[in-house]
Amino acid sequence: MKILYFAWLRERLNRSEDEFDVPNSVSNVDELIDWIGENDEAAKMAFENKKLIRAAVDEKIVEHDYSIAGAKTIAFFPPMTGG
């Protein structure tokens, strides 16, 4: 599963993407955030305030309870500030 990071998430993690084999027990976006943080102190801190984390699963913006089963690409980013 490909994970993308944008804006200050990317900066704090010091990388723009990861490639992970995510176990089936990790079923939704919220659980994926926790799973990424488990073995990665920088990620744990960057993701600390979950209210500030937006997610997209296969190029669709979703809530944190959205299922990641079968997903290819999951992106994490702060609230958007375009326009």
């Binding site: 944008f6 190029e59 913006i61 980013f77 958007m80 500030t81 375009g82």
Partner: protein, 145 residues
Amino acid sequence: MQSEVFNPGDETNRFIEQADGAGAAVTFTGLVRSSADNPTKRMTLEHYPALAQSQLENMASEATKRFKLLKVTIIHRFGMMHPNEPIVQVMALSPHRQAAFDGANFIMDWLKTDAPFWKYEETPDGAKWVEAKAIDDKAKDKWKA
């Protein structure tokens, strides 16, 4: 979407040329703001290309359907830009003025919160990621059916 600077008036003219049957065109142009109180040296817009493309297309077609517009064009830059340069331009063409106003306004309100772009501002006091504003979330609410 493009990184190059664009010419707002040229884009408006090109858009209006397609006006056969339309009576009203509304153009919104967003500019890199820099004032004496809040000077900006430059701004960089990071984006998520695939998602940005599909979100802008969704917004354009949703606005077209909802306000019965004849045509909608959205131009959004990414990358580095300087004060007073245009960042975004939204244009709506309609037989009636209110639909053109509402269409462009609707797109801008959605774009602020739902298009994956992030502003990074460099000022004389340092650089920072622009924070999302609660008022932008509220602006979207006025379009709830």
